[in-house]
């Protein structure tokens, strides 16, 4: 009754099945792939790598993002995995519990995908087009600036100070975003301008 397990039957158990019998014919590769299927398929094969920097803290660990699809080739890129960049001098491939889970931040269920508007007194958001949203903002800025900009102080000095509109800037955006934000905000005369350095 004892089963005498030959390598053949062993392989069979491992899922190779008929494929193993024609191993010679198929050559290395497909048959082996079938055999090896029990070690989980390596999920990063044929993905596109992109170098990035962790968005969380200012250790600024190097990361490698793996996506299906290549943005540079004009394709839609779906992020499937992120891990530390072993070439990076600071983190040498390591990541903390936040960084190691970055993919699930990018793909969080609570990511926003559509501009939304909340009317005064409403108890919910409604979707709104970008055009409408941007026009609303520009209008509100224009109206408030025209109404409240302090062009000159009591001494008659031009001060171009606008205090009734304020701007809190993101601290995880790039320098380039920061510079563009700076330009636009300062050109308007906004002084209620701050970032996350304090909190």
């Amino acid at each position: 009754m004892n089963i005498d397990l030959s390598r053949r039957s062993f392989l069979k158990l491992f899922g190779a099945g008929a494929a193993a019998t024609s191993l010679g014919a198929m050559g290395f590769g497909a048959a082996e792939a079938a055999v090896a299927a029990h070690v989980r398929q390596f999920k990063l094969a044929t993905t596109t790598e992109t170098r990035n920097i962790c968005t969380y803290c200012s250790v600024a660990c190097g990361i490698v993002m793996y996506s299906r699809g290549d943005l540079n080739a004009g394709e839609k890129a779906e992020l499937i995995h992120i891990e530390g960049d072993a070439d990076h001098p600071t983190n040498r491939g390591t990541l903390c519990p936040k960084g190691a889970a970055l993919k699930d931040y990018v793909r969080a269920e609570t990511r926003l995908t559509q501009p939304r508007y909340r009317a005064p007194g409403a108890d919910r958001f409604q979707e709104i087009s970008w055009d409408e949203a941007l026009d609303k903002i520009a209008r509100a800025l224009k109206d408030d600036r025209d109404a409240n900009l302090i062009e000159k102080n009591a001494a008659g000095t031009t001060v171009n100070r606008w205090t009734s509109t304020g701007f809190l800037a993101a601290s995880a955006t790039t320098n380039e975003t920061a510079w563009l934000t700076y330009k636009t905000v300062r050109s308007m005369g906004i002084v209620g301008f701050d970032n996350q350095a304090r909190v």
Partner: protein, 811 residues
């Protein structure tokens, strides 16, 4: 950070105080473990809680939240008393021998010049004695009682180990053991590094905490050397960059200042920024201020900025007060003085103190615009979420626009790490839905506003109409275009000042460094300290050569570090007076007889002769300062001040509440609690499993720390009948929260001034949006008080009460 993450491996002693590096910066903390392994370095942790950093430390000491200055001044006193001073360094590279004005003094915990009404100091006495030659008077013998050395000795005299124990609750034997460990680093070949973060900044005297340690580091000769320095670990990935680029009320990129209204024109503005050297031969680098300012103004307004109109100086807003920082804006908002407010990737409802006040303030806005990749509590401040956000939407009239933005994975550009490395990153994912980059959104807002001014006219349209906008695609400038502006370029041919027949730079070419910036309008450069980041040789920030031939962790060809690709600031101070490294095994630079050279970029003119030019080239003295002159609003030396809400009185002056010059709005005084009603000290902090309020949106991190909790000692739990895992109510004068209780041996009651002080630890991270369980943040409880110099809220030390709350309503 004066140094870099990778430099920490060169240290002999790490002191983590005012931070929790292992938890908040795990991958940076790696370099502490490297130092331990490579050099046998030791790690000291001083913290109210036995943190995860403490779990791998060699020595731990507890401290009462908000008493760090007493501890640090105590260490300085001990080092002086035990001659643990790097004398060569202190004598030559600090202002120890400088004479201070006779009028300056300190008594009852206060410095001379205090004005109770304005809650400020008249700082006129906080100054050096200046000789007839315009230079500071000094006494190299250190005998003059008015020299900084003697003033310092007198100032720290009160901070005996007994005083430290009384104020900080740190057992004397533990304090002394730490003094001894630190004292060893006064050797020129031993260095200590200080790693700190919000544990020091989020106090009403946060800046003075940091100065305290900086002074200790100077005493030990540890500033500018490998493995030393003052290392602010910093928070968000680009908080350094945003500050560098000046996204603050009072800043212009590169740490230039927004003018105040007493500076009506450009020349007046420049007149106080001459920065004439205070000692012979000193570089006083800020003498170049005008070049940076003009280049900035040209970056803003291009051809419209001319010598005639003061380079467009008039178009810059001018401040009437020091700054309109976040706390002030929210205070103004609560009074109905703000109509439109933008939150770009920022969730102030959870991150600023006194949430109740904030919610009320936001309800007084006409329009709130939130740009964020995630659904934030701020965008939904009007939504009712039971006890987690108990508001009535129908009573809130604020219009809200919530704009979906991309995140790091979907955009390109550079962020600046704590070690000032500008690292470029690339997009690798398609943005979800209709989300757009912040650049696209800001451009579109600006272009539409500009169009309105073009069409309709309006108030002061020039700064808007004249703003340079010469991008290939006006609606979405590329990261490279913007980075090139930050670097700066020649607007016209720039002649070589030494040989006018030659060209220094051809029109349109990128500058190679800030040395090429000009004050005549021939160059533009948005942020002078970034000059060199994107040159004619290409994008330096994208460099990925990770070789480190010196083994010092310099990585000279990896990305770009400001300024000038320098990795360790003040590195001239790593060498003795003659230019030889204090420790030849840890050479950053050295004088080779003709020039400075080494693995790092010298922080001094390469041909500046040793013994002539001091190492601290940004200071007009050329040396560093134990006595900080007028630079700090709350005193030229740190002095012990209690938190605004404290369980004990200040032994230096029992009448003094908090920091006498800290930011405190009149309406908020009534919202301070006292120890009779709120007997326990609360301190807030971050957990390693989470990043602020983002990762609660991430299922993985929500799994790792699912629910809001507070941490208390077994003793306090017993006293209040609280069980491990039980539900508790924590309340302050400003609000209440419900949490789970983690009862632990890692927090112990402290004995301060003869009484038992219990600490309640309150992690941040939870709110009413995301994947984790709904919860609260400590900001519901924290006081609306800001640091005297930098306006950080006092999140690290305030008073609360706590009780069991089993079975009470959860929604």
């Amino acid at each position: 950070m004066t140094n870099s993450w990778t430099d920490i491996k060169n240290t002999d002693l790490v002191i983590v105080m005012g931070g929790n590096a292992a938890e908040a910066h795990p991958c940076g903390f790696k370099w502490v473990t490297e130092a331990k392994q490579r050099r046998g370095a030791k790690l000291i942790v001083v913290d109210p809680r036995f943190t995860r950093t403490a779990s791998v430390s060699d020595y731990y000491a507890p401290i009462r939240p908000g008493s760090d200055i007493a501890f640090l001044m105590g260490v300085i006193r001990w080092c002086i008393a035990n001659d643990k001073v790097q004398w060569d360094y202190v004598r030559n590279y600090t202002n120890m021998a400088y004479l201070v004005r006779e009028e300056f003094g300190w008594a009852d915990g206060m410095f001379t010049g205090y004005n109770e009404e304005t809650r400020s100091y008249d700082q006129s006495s906080w100054e050096y004695q200046i000789g007839e030659d315009g230079y500071v008077l000094t006494d190299e013998t250190l005998e003059n009682p008015r020299c900084v050395w003697n003033l310092l000795k007198a100032h720290v005299d009160v901070y005996t180990p007994e005083f430290v124990e009384r104020v900080c609750g740190t057992p004397k034997d533990r304090f002394l053991k730490i003094c001894e460990m630190i004292g060893e680093c006064s050797s020129p070949t031993k260095t200590m590094t200080s790693m700190y973060a919000l544990g020091w900044t989020q106090h009403s005297k946060g800046s003075q905490n940091i100065r305290g340690m900086a002074m200790l580091q100077l005493l030990l000769g540890n500033i500018g050397v490998a493995g030393g320095g003052m290392n602010a670990l910093r928070g968000h990935s680009n908080i350094q960059g945003l500050t560098d680029v000046g996204l603050m009320s009072n800043l212009i990129p590169g740490y230039l200042a927004i003018p105040n209204e007493r500076e009506p024109d450009f020349e007046t503005y420049m007149s106080t920024r001459g920065n004439k050297p205070l000692r012979p031969n000193q570089m006083s680098y800020w003498q170049n201020y005008r070049k940076f300012m003009v280049s900035f103004l040209k970056a803003m307004w291009g051809p419209a900025a001319t010598a005639e109109n003061g380079w467009g100086y008039e178009w810059l807003p001018k401040l009437d007060i020091a700054q309109y920082d976040g706390l002030r804006m929210f205070d103004m908002m609560s009074k109905g003085e703000v109509n439109v407010y933008f939150c770009q990737g920022f969730n102030p409802i959870l991150s600023f103190p006194n949430r109740g006040k904030l919610t009320e303030a936001f309800g007084k806005l006409k329009l709130l615009v939130v740009m964020d990749p995630l659904a934030t509590e701020t965008a939904a401040f009007w939504e009712n979420h039971g006890i987690y956000n108990d508001v009535d939407p129908s009573k809130i009239r604020t219009e809200v626009l919530e704009l979906p933005t991309t995140c790091f994975a979907e955009d390109e550009g550079a962020t600046v790490n704590s070690g000032r490395w500008l690292q470029w990153h690339w997009a690798g994912a398609t943005p979800p839905g209709e989300s757009r980059t912040d650049v696209w959104i800001m451009s579109n807002i600006f272009l539409r506003l500009r169009e309105l001014y073009r069409k309709e006219g309006g108030r002061a349209p020039e700064p808007i109409l004249n703003l340079t906008w010469d991008y290939a695609h006006a609606e979405e400038p590329t990261a490279a275009e913007l980075a090139m502006e930050l670097n700066g370029r020649a607007l016209t041919d720039v002649p070589d000042p030494n040989d006018p027949t030659k060209l220094l730079l051809q029109a349109g070419k990128q500058v190679s460094g800030f040395g090429q910036l000009r004050d005549d309008g021939t160059t533009m450069g948005a942020c002078w300290i970034y000059a060199g980041c994107f040159t004619e040789a290409g994008n330096m920030m994208a460099r990925r050569d990770n070789s480190d031939p010196s083994g010092m962790g310099v990585y000279q060809n990896w990305s770009f570090a400001w300024p000038a690709n320098r990795r360790v600031l003040y590195n001239r101070a790593s060498c003795d007076l003659d230019g030889a490294p204090w420790d030849p095994e840890r050479k950053l630079i050295a004088w080779d007889g003709e020039k400075w050279a080494g693995p790092d970029i010298p922080d001094i003119a390469v041909t500046a002769k040793p013994r002539e030019v001091g190492p601290f080239i940004m200071n007009p003295e050329g040396v560093s300062r134990f006595f900080s002159r007028k630079l700090m609003r709350d005193g030229p030396f740190p002095t012990h001040m209690e938190p605004f809400e404290s369980p004990v009185a200040n032994p230096l002056n029992p009448e003094m509440r908090g920091n006498p010059v800290a930011r405190m709005f009149p309406g908020d005084v009534a919202q301070l609690g006292d120890r009779s009603e709120f007997p326990f000290v609360a301190t807030s902090y971050r957990l390693t499993e989470h990043f602020h309020y983002w990762t609660k949106h991430n299922k993985v991190n929500a799994v790792l720390q699912p629910e809001f909790f507070v941490e208390i000692s077994e003793e306090l739990a017993a006293e209040r009948g609280i069980r491990k895992g039980g539900r508790v109510r924590v309340w302050s004068k400003r609000g209440q929260v419900w949490a789970k209780a983690v009862v632990t041996k890692r927090i112990r009651p402290l004995i301060c001034d003869g009484q038992t002080v219990h600490v309640v630890g309150i992690p941040i991270h939870w709110g009413f949006k995301g994947a984790a369980r709904k919860g609260f943040g400590p900001n519901t409880l924290g006081p609306f008080v800001g640091d005297a110099n930098i306006e950080t809220p006092e999140f690290k030390a305030y008073l609360v009460n706590i009780e069991p709350a089993e079975g009470s309503a959860t929604s």
